[in-house]
C-alpha cells in the first residue's frame, strides 16, 4: 500500500513529529510506530508480567501515552524505542507494586529459578513477523550480545538485576527474596550493572545508536540515525 510505504520511509523521530502535530497524519504515524515497536513492548511486558492479557493492557496503555504525551519525547536524547520501553516498564512496575499489596498472581522470578527452564526469557520465543529491515538485524545482534552479557554475570548478581528490572522489586525486597543482607544486594546490583554498562561501552552497543545523540539543537530535524538509507525507499 502506498500509505504504508510513505510512512515507512520516515524515521521514528519524524513520525513522532507528525503525531505531535495532530495533523491528519497523526493516526497513521502512531500506527506505523506501533507496527515497528509493539512486539518489543509486548515482549517486555509479557516477560515482566507473565500474563498475556495484562501484557496486552500494558501495550495498549503504552501507545496511548505515546499518543497523549508525544510532546514529552525529546528526540536526540534517547532513541524513541528506549523512551517507549521506559514507559512500558514504568507502567509494569507500577502494576507489580500495586499488586504486591494484594495476594500475588504469580511472583516474578529470575530466569534461573523459573519453572520454564527451557527458555532463558521465561516465555517461548515467537517469531517477530514485522518487516525485516536492517535495523532489526542490528537490534537482534544487540539483544544477543546483551543477553549473553547478562547470562555471563555471576548468578547472584544477575538474579538481583533481573529481580529489580523485570520483577520491579526494590533492593530491600530483593534482599528478602535472596536471603541476603541489604548491603550485599546493593553490591550485587552495583557490580552487575556496572559490568553491563562496561560491556555496552566496550562493544559500542549502547542503546543510543552512534550518531543519534549527536544531533543536538535540531529537535525538529530527524536524527541521522533515524533517516539512514535502510529506511529509504
Amino acid at each position: 500500500m502506498k500509505r504504508v510505504s510513505s510512512l515507512q520511509s520516515l524515521g521514528d523521530d519524524q513520525l513522532v513529529l507528525l503525531l505531535r502535530a495532530r495533523e491528519g497524519a497523526a493516526e497513521g504515524a502512531l500506527d506505523e510506530l506501533y507496527t515497528r515497536h509493539s512486539a518489543a513492548v509486548y515482549g517486555l511486558a509479557r516477560r515482566m508480567l507473565r500474563d498475556e492479557r495484562a501484557a496486552e493492557e500494558i501495550l495498549n496503555e503504552t501507545f496511548w501515552r505515546v499518543w497523549r504525551h508525544a510532546d514529552r519525547y525529546e528526540a536526540g536524547r534517547v532513541r524513541f524505542a528506549t523512551w517507549l520501553l521506559r514507559i512500558a516498564r514504568n507502567l509494569v512496575v507500577s502494576e507489580l507494586r500495586r499488586e504486591a499489596h494484594r495476594p500475588r498472581r504469580s511472583d516474578p522470578r529470575p530466569s534461573d529459578e523459573s519453572s520454564e527452564g527451557d527458555d532463558p526469557h521465561g516465555l517461548p520465543d515467537v517469531p517477530d513477523t514485522s518487516p525485516d529491515v536492517p535495523d532489526q538485524v542490528w537490534q537482534a545482534e544487540q539483544r544477543r550480545a546483551l543477553a549473553s552479557g547478562l547470562a555471563a554475570l555471576p548468578a547472584e548478581q544477575r538474579q538481583a538485576v533481573e529481580l529489580a528490572y523485570f520483577g520491579g522489586l526494590t533492593h530491600v525486597e530483593i534482599a528478602a527474596r535472596q536471603g541476603a543482607p541489604l548491603s550485599t544486594v546493593k553490591t550485587r546490583l552495583a557490580l552487575g550493572l556496572r559490568k553491563l554498562a562496561a560491556q555496552l561501552c566496550s562493544q559500542q552497543m549502547a542503546p543510543e545508536r552512534p550518531g543519534v545523540s549527536a544531533a543536538p539543537g535540531a529537535p525538529g530535524a530527524p536524527g541521522p540515525g533515524e533517516s539512514e538509507v535502510w529506511r529509504g525507499d
Binding site: 495533523e23 497523526a26 502512531l30 514504568n90 539483544r143 546493593k186
Partner: protein, 276 residues
C-alpha cells in the same frame, strides 16, 4: 570513583533500576542535584538499564490490541476535533438510499463526500511526498469518522423490518444571530444516536467550538462539540444519554473550547424534536 563516604556509589545502580525505597530515592536525588560525577555515573548505568529491555525477544501481539488502540485514538480525535462533512460513497450510499425521509439529505452528504475524496485524490497526485503522507492519513482519519457515522446511521436507519420505524428528520433553523444556518437532525426517537447535518455555519473565532445541546423543556444537555472548516458544513454524530424521544428540542451555540457544561453563548440555531 570517589569513596562511598563522599558519594553514595553503592546506591546509584539501585537508583538507575528504580529499586530504591521512596525515602532513599529522595535523598539520592538531593545528592544528584549537586553532584555531576554521580549524575554521569547514573547516566552510564541508565544506559545499561535501558539495554536490559532489549535483551527480551520481541513477541508479536494479537491484532486485537492494535484495533483497540486505534479505536481509542479515533474516539479521542473525534472528541477533540470533530467532524467534517465527508462520507464515503462506497459504504454511505447504500444505507442512505434505504432511508426514505433521510434519503435526499444523506445522498447530498454522500456526493459532497465523493467530491471531497476526489479533490483529496487530485491533491495527492500533485503533492510532494510529505504532503502525500499527510493527505493519505487524513483520508484514513476521515474513513474512521465515516465508520463512526456509518455505525450511527445503522442505528438510526436500520434495514427495513417490522416494528422499526423510519428515522425522523427535524429541521434546525438559524436564529437572528446566524440566520443563514440550516440543518437537519436525523434520529430514531427510541434510539440514542443521531446525525446532525449543518450548513452555512459561520467560521469560528480561535479557541471556540460549536456545541450542540439537547433540550428537555428549558434544561440543556451537551450533545457534543465540533469545529467547522471553510466549507461551513459539518456532519456531527450525537450520542444522547437517554432516548432521543424524551427530548423536546436541539440547540446550537458557540462556546469556549473544549466546550461548556451549560450553554453560555446565544443560540445560533434550534429545532424541535417530536415526542416518541
Amino acid at each position: 570513583m570517589a569513596t562511598s563516604s563522599q558519594h553514595p556509589t553503592d546506591l546509584l545502580a539501585a537508583y538507575a533500576l528504580d529499586a530504591l525505597e521512596d525515602a532513599e530515592r529522595a535523598d539520592l536525588e538531593t545528592h544528584l542535584a549537586g553532584c555531576a560525577e554521580c549524575r554521569v555515573e547514573v547516566a552510564r548505568l541508565t544506559a545499561a538499564v535501558d539495554a536490559l529491555a532489549e535483551t527480551v525477544a520481541p513477541v508479536t501481539p494479537p491484532a486485537e490490541v492494535r484495533r483497540r488502540l486505534m479505536a481509542r485514538v479515533a474516539a479521542d480525535r473525534a472528541r477533540v476535533a470533530p467532524t467534517v462533512a465527508v462520507t464515503d460513497p462506497s459504504t454511505g450510499a447504500p444505507r442512505a438510499r434505504s432511508g426514505r425521509a433521510a434519503g435526499p439529505w444523506l445522498a447530498g452528504a454522500v456526493s459532497a463526500g465523493a467530491i471531497a475524496l476526489a479533490v483529496v485524490g487530485l491533491w495527492q497526485a500533485v503533492s510532494a511526498r510529505r504532503e502525500l503522507v499527510s493527505v493519505q492519513a487524513e483520508v484514513a482519519r476521515l474513513r474512521a469518522q465515516l465508520d463512526d457515522q456509518s455505525n450511527a446511521l445503522a442505528e438510526i436507519n436500520p434495514e427495513p423490518q417490522p416494528g422499526v420505524a423510519a428515522p425522523r428528520v427535524e429541521a434546525l433553523q438559524g436564529s437572528g444571530q446566524a440566520p443563514a444556518v440550516t440543518g437537519r437532525l436525523v434520529y430514531q426517537p427510541t434510539g440514542r444516536a443521531a446525525i446532525a447535518l449543518l450548513e452555512r455555519l459561520p467560521a469560528l473565532q480561535p479557541g471556540r467550538v460549536y456545541q450542540l445541546w439537547l433540550l428537555r423543556g428549558n434544561t440543556p444537555t451537551s450533545a457534543g462539540t465540533f469545529t467547522v472548516d471553510a466549507t461551513g458544513r459539518a456532519t456531527v454524530v450525537l450520542r444522547a444519554p437517554e432516548r432521543l424521544g424524551t427530548y423536546t428540542g436541539i440547540g446550537l451555540t458557540a462556546e469556549p473550547a473544549p466546550g461548556r457544561p451549560t450553554p453560555t453563548g446565544p443560540i445560533l440555531a434550534a429545532g424541535s424534536l417530536a415526542a416518541a
